[in-house]
């Protein structure tokens, strides 16, 4: 009931504000950060159907890497990782929902591209997962390269860059293939699984995650092709740098924590660290947090309640999960990967 009341109030307010030319919440005063604090809850747009990234289990609880990023932001801003309301958005409506203010942020396997950053009017927080588009085929199908798809069918989900990348690649190679385009990923994988298509294309991480859920995972292999670069990360809306900074630095914080070696298990040992970098990072010194409009020890909350990036990765995609993904490009820069957090100074 309260919701409808709020709705009526917003409508009334909006009507009242109609006279003045309302610009988007650009000023710090009208930042989403205050809105989230007042609400006491973060509204986070997720997919909800990608095992390992965001998935609803039988109890209705959300889990996954994307979900943990939402939790980290909630822990930093509100001190409670559970104060998140998840909105399941499909790929076609995610940007409208974000631009319209229905969600505070997206953490939904969204690829960072120039057009989305500029003309669609989004802001991309640091990449939380470096991915590339791949192709899943049956091991016994005899398909080894994309050229083998001449006259064969590929299942693909619409509304994503995947569809366009596939078309571009095949056009370059001059391969005449049959796309079978589904509205949602579930239907696409189901159709691939029962043999409607010879290939299934999507981001490699998704393919690997999904492969492990197929009846006989060993019967399916990833082709040795990468059709595109897919840097996936959280997204906020343009013209709200106060809020964007929070999302950006919480994400960096996850990586920085791993670089420092701080985990949810051993954070107690660092509480009184004499390393000034770590002391600043955890808010015992300086005002890094309060300058952003957050509690000064926001990273302590994030690490105790969610963990560092390595923990999040292992829990959802890596060694502790059913997917057993290699860190690969998603390792820290110190381990030959691409994750690199600017210094917390």
């Amino acid at each position: 009931m309260r919701k409808w009341g709020i709705l009526a109030a917003t409508l009334g307010l909006a009507l009242a504000a109609c006279g003045g030319d309302t610009t988007t919440g650009g000023s710090a005063a009208g930042s989403r950060l205050d809105l989230v604090k007042d609400r006491g809850q973060l509204i986070c747009g997720v997919d909800g159907g990608i095992p390992g990234f965001s998935f609803v289990d039988e109890t209705g609880a959300f889990s996954g890497l994307d979900v943990d990023v939402c939790k980290a932001v909630a822990a930093a801003v509100l001190g409670d990782a559970e104060a998140v309301e998840y909105r399941r958005l499909d790929s076609t409506e995610r940007f409208t929902a974000l631009a319209g203010g229905e969600v505070d942020m997206l953490s939904r396997n969204t690829t960072w591209t120039i057009s989305r950053d500029t003309s669609v009017g989004l802001e991309f927080a640091p990449t939380t997962f470096y991915d590339g588009q791949g192709m899943l085929v049956r091991a016994n199908s005899g398909i080894e390269t994309l050229e083998d798809f001449q006259g064969r069918a590929v299942c693909v989900e619409t509304g994503t860059t995947t569809e366009l990348n596939l078309t571009d690649q095949m056009r370059q190679l001059g391969v005449d293939f049959e796309p079978v385009v589904f509205q949602d990923a579930d239907a696409a994988y189901a159709a691939y699984d029962e043999g409607r298509c010879e290939g299934m294309t999507s981001d490699k991480s998704q393919l690997i995650a999904r492969r492990s859920t197929l009846p006989n995972p060993d019967e399916h292999v990833l082709l040795d092709v990468t059709m595109s670069k897919e840097p996936l990360g959280p997204v906020t809306v343009n013209n709200d740098s106060a809020w964007f900074d929070v999302v950006k630095w919480v994400t960096f914080g996850l990586m920085q924590a791993e670089e420092f070696g701080i985990t949810s298990a051993n954070i107690g040992d660092f509480e009184a660290s004499d390393n000034p970098d770590i002391a600043r990072f955890l808010g015992q010194e300086g005002t890094l947090g309060t300058d952003m409009g957050l509690p000064n020890d926001f990273m302590v909350q994030v690490i105790t309640q969610v963990g560092n990036y390595g923990e999040v990765f292992d829990r959802n995609l890596g060694a502790d999960s059913q997917f057993n993904l290699e860190r690969g490009q998603n390792a820290l820069w110190t381990d030959g990967g691409l994750l690199y957090s600017p210094p917390f100074r």
Binding site: T23, T24, S91, T92, F95, T96, A99, S119, V120, G121, A153, C155, T158, G159, E163, L164, L166, T167, D168, M170, R171, F177, E178, P179, V180, V181, F182, Q183, A187, A188, A190, A191, E194, G195, R196
Partner: protein, 394 residues
Amino acid sequence: MNSDSSGESFAQKLKTLLRDERFWQVAFQVITLGIVLLLAAFFVGNLNRNLAQQGRSFGFSFLFNPAGFSIGESLIRYRPNDPYWRALMVGLSNTLSLVAAGIVLTTVLGTAAGVASFSKNWLLYKLSRLYVGLVRNVPLLLQLFFWYFAIYGTLPRPESQISALGLVFLNNRGVYIPWAGSAVLALLGIGVTIFAAVMAVFLWQWRTKLRIETGTGGKNQLMGLIGLGVLWLAFVILALQWTFPSPVDGGGVTGGLRLTREYVAALSALVFYTSAFVAEIVRAGIQSVSRGQWEAARSLGFQSGLVMQLVVFPQALRVIIPPMNSEFMNLTKNTSLAFAIAFPEIYSVANTTYNQTGRPVEVFVVLMATYLVMCLIITLGMNQLNRAVQFKER
């Protein structure tokens, strides 16, 4: 108007005015118009502001940009670097192929199921009622998924496909049927078939009329009918350069016409669903013919098959055709659900177009116009038909 109109007489005037119903009629319309205009201004103003804020303007020029996505199946030539309007045309052609086949099959199946509910055979009657009672009460979208995944999805893979008499092949990619050698020939064949059917109906009516009026005759017309049938068959068999599907080693089929699984599943679901409604319409139509007509026809010594054909059904048609129009329109609009099982009809292409261009309003306008025109064409056709079967007042 009196020049010395005092306040009282003005009040009088006002009173008469307020009691005058015509004044209220005008006032009410003015108020309505005002409200509608205000709302429109409010919505359009917001739309403009929102679009401006997103840095976009309203316009259809994007339709000429290259689309960049590929489409699974199409009746017209399409390449990914064709413009958006061409992609939308491809979607439209797919929708139309679904609508055309759907209308024909629905009419046949629906009428059969409707007539079957009057069958003397208890089983057939029960079956018809069961079919209608089941199918009408389950949502179409669910039935689409059911056909796509739970029925056509269980067909074997191309390696172990099913063949029927070596003419038709079935696997989980689709259904392969014999077909005319080229698109032009196929269209020609369809056109000739329609023409032959119209001629046959005409001849049959002529024969019936003769037999009713003279009690004999109709031989010439019967010969004409047979001749027509032979001619049509000869044309279809010889002139269309049939190609037959033939299996390929290692699974798959070449030649013939491939109906993709998406198309077949969408068509099955649409036809089964809509036919249940048509069956009810046909049943109600037949029931609307008064009992006296049956009895009168029987007392004249007609066999019951003839009663149906000559007396009851022509009268029932008058009641049947108007609601059939709306069923066909529903069928047309329901084809838009086929996108959920990956059939690239116009809504699906429009959806992709909106995703790529971020122009919901323009895409919606295009969609709306397209469906409106389709529905209009169906309505016009049905109205013509309706005029043909209504009572001739003499």
